[in-house]
């Protein structure tokens, strides 16, 4: 008890000294740069910042971590309340929305003068996500795209020595796996409440998802229909269980047990599977580029960008931080800390990435990714798209009727205001 008391006293004394020392430091002329980031990225970026602060005396970077699920709402309320930070990590599908709000600083003038941020070093499809109505509003930080995670052993047991490269091979592999695995196991898990798997198949097509300057849905197009048919086939043939991700609370566990052999997901699961799959499965799973109708088809460009807010009073300084974090070396350190894949090709020239075989498929697919339609309403449209697909799978609605209803909903409800505003702009 008494020793505890002594230790406690010593600790208090140490704190008091520390506090006294801190309060001596110059605080008056210090500039504070506010950066908002998602949880894991925010934590990691904190470790990169001391170097930046050493190079910029008198500058303090304050990082605020926000959970991904709360970030969007928080940013919008901060915009309405005029309380945005100087810069932030913005999911690249959110850029069109905040560009529409007029919240973002156009960055082309900064990039033109920069010798760190060079457009040709970035994956083209990823860079493109930052451009809205031909203005640049973001600089890509890290990237993701969804591709095929698969169980090599189950594929081999079904008689295949490599991952499928096109839809025909994929069909045959799924049929064979279902055959060899039996009635209570499946070949693939396509969560019915996630729009990403279907979206990634659809974005491979040459028909765009929206038409007429992104003011109308294009879901009755031939291309979308082809993607949907492939998606539906997996359920019709019982290659995929008609389940949502809520019904499979522990997907890593199920993947380990062989409940399904294919899973269309993103780079964060490399870390999850390395950690959570049982030892006997380690070495028997891999990643492969998402098959397309004829060979690797690419997917949707995901990831996060840096964006600087127009209301910031320290834009130049914020840009310098963006440049600092975009340096090849910082991109590589950031990968080591988080496992988030770098947006610059040159940063991939890195031993840790080269020795991790799971990242190779991502490197290949990143050259083929395409941005999603750049309208603020996109997420809602994608959600409606998935609801239409779910109605076909679970409710037995015909694909024709579902797509007709989807296009009608997108045209009459979701994009009606956008169309009206564009028409007004044209008149003026």
């Amino acid at each position: 008890m008494s020793s505890f008391g002594m230790a406690g006293l010593a600790r208090i004394a140490a704190w008091a000294t520390m506090f006294a020392l801190c309060s001596c430091a110059p605080a008056a002329h210090e500039t504070t740069l506010k950066l908002w980031a998602f949880g894991p990225e925010g934590e990691a970026v904190g470790k990169l910042l001391p170097e930046f602060e050493r190079a910029h005396p008198g500058v303090h970077v304050e990082v605020q971590n926000l959970p991904l699920t709360a970030m969007h709402e928080k940013l919008l309320t901060a915009f309405a309340g005029d309380a945005l930070p100087d810069l932030c990590q913005l999911g690249n599908t959110w850029i069109p929305e905040f560009a529409t709000l007029g919240a973002l600083e156009p960055l082309q003038v900064y990039v033109d003068k920069s010798d760190v941020v060079r457009r040709d070093d970035y994956f083209a499809g990823i860079w493109d996500t930052n451009i809205v109505d031909s203005a640049l509003y973001g600089v890509s930080w890290y990237v993701d795209t969804r591709l095929l995670f698969y169980r090599k052993d189950l594929l081999a047991a079904a008689g295949f020595d490599h991952a499928p490269r096109d839809w025909d091979e994929w069909r045959r592999a799924m049929a064979a796996i279902k055959q060899s695995q039996g009635a209570d196991k499946y070949a693939i898990f396509l969560p019915l409440n996630e729009f990403e798997p279907l979206l990634n198949l659809a974005i491979q097509q040459s028909d765009p998802l929206l038409r007429d300057e992104n003011t109308r849905g294009n879901f009755e197009s031939e291309g979308f229909r082809r993607a949907l048919d492939f998606y539906l086939e997996a359920f019709r043939e019982h290659w995929a269980p008609p389940l949502s991700n809520i019904q499979v609370p522990n997907y890593a566990d199920e993947f380990g047990k062989g409940y399904f052999a294919f899973y269309v997901t993103g780079p964060w699961n490399i870390g999850v599977f390395k950690q959570r799959l049982p030892a006997e499965v380690q070495g028997h799973w891999g990643t492969a580029p998402l098959p397309g109708a004829n060979g690797p088809g690419g997917g949707a460009a995901g990831g996060s960008s840096f964006a600087i807010f127009r209301a910031s009073k320290n834009k130049q300084l914020a840009w310098e931080l963006v440049e600092f974090l975009s340096q090849m070396k910082q991109q590589q350190r950031f990968y080591s800390l988080t496992g988030d894949l770098p947006a610059r090709r040159s940063a991939w020239d890195f031993v840790e990435l080269e020795t991790d075989e799971f990242t190779h498929a991502f490197r290949a697919q990143l050259e083929l990714v395409k941005p999603m339609p750049k309208v603020p309403e996109w997420e809602r449209i994608a959600t409606e798209m998935q609801l239409a697909a779910e109605r076909v799978v679970r409710g037995g609605e015909s694909a024709d009727a579902a797509l007709r209803a989807l296009d009608a909903k997108v045209d009459d409800e979701i994009l009606a205001k956008r169309r009206a505003l564009l028409a007004r702009k044209v008149r003026q």
Binding site: E73, F79, I246, E377, R394, K417
Partner: protein
Amino acid sequence: MNSERAAWTFVAPALVVLGVFLALPVCAALLLSFTDFDIYALASLDNLRFVGLANYVDVLRAPLFWKALANTVWFVVLALPLSLLTSLGAALLLNSPLARFKGLHRTALFAPVVTTVVAVAIVWRYLFHTRYGLINDVLGHLGIGPVDWLGDPHWAMPALVLFAVWKNFGYNMIILLAGLQAIPQDLYEAARIDGASAWRRFWHVTLPGLRPVLLLVAIITIAGYFQLFAEPYVMTRGEPEQSTVSVLYFMYEEGFKWWNLGRACAVAFLLFALILVVTRMLLRFVRTKEGA
């Protein structure tokens, strides 16, 4: 005169607080419900259009609103009687002279009320799991095939009802328990002397004595259950096939997911009107029965 002024002085702080934090936002929301306030209006007020009753018409024409309303009514119809019966049953057991460790049991039965929805939802999601869930395990021993509780559009709402009743019955139980203890013992004694059975004592003494409390509990529960939100939000996210989208969940998605604040406000006022009508009807029904 003077006392009138004093009275106003005393209520003034409360009135100010209510005005700023209740009346003002409600009026603002009402105004907002007549506009098409959305992400474009947030960018520039030039893009804000006064649309009159169009939001209300749109909402009333949206199939999902009617589906949400049907889901919500279905939830209330299932959960209200189940909830009241469970609460009453638990209160009667606790009030029984035979019950031991009353304090312990009361606390245990009340515990679900004070736990966070999110935490217990995780446990319940495992209970409802189709293949590993405890509930299906028990049903399996009884020879009933596995029920896909949260994945089957027909079972998802009943699953939420079970969860919500378990989560909430303790609150009403406490109120009913207080009501039971307020019934004079001599009434029971008199009934017993007259030779009334336990069942007749319950029917003719307990129930009439509990009537005002039961009415209060029913109204609070109806108003609460019509505002169903947390359970589908954490358990199902409105799935499967939107079979657990409640009116409030619909409003939340319109407002905070899609940022159609005008339409979300219209939903809020429609729900308010609905709850008002239902509780008024209930009150009138009880009054006419009392008058008869």
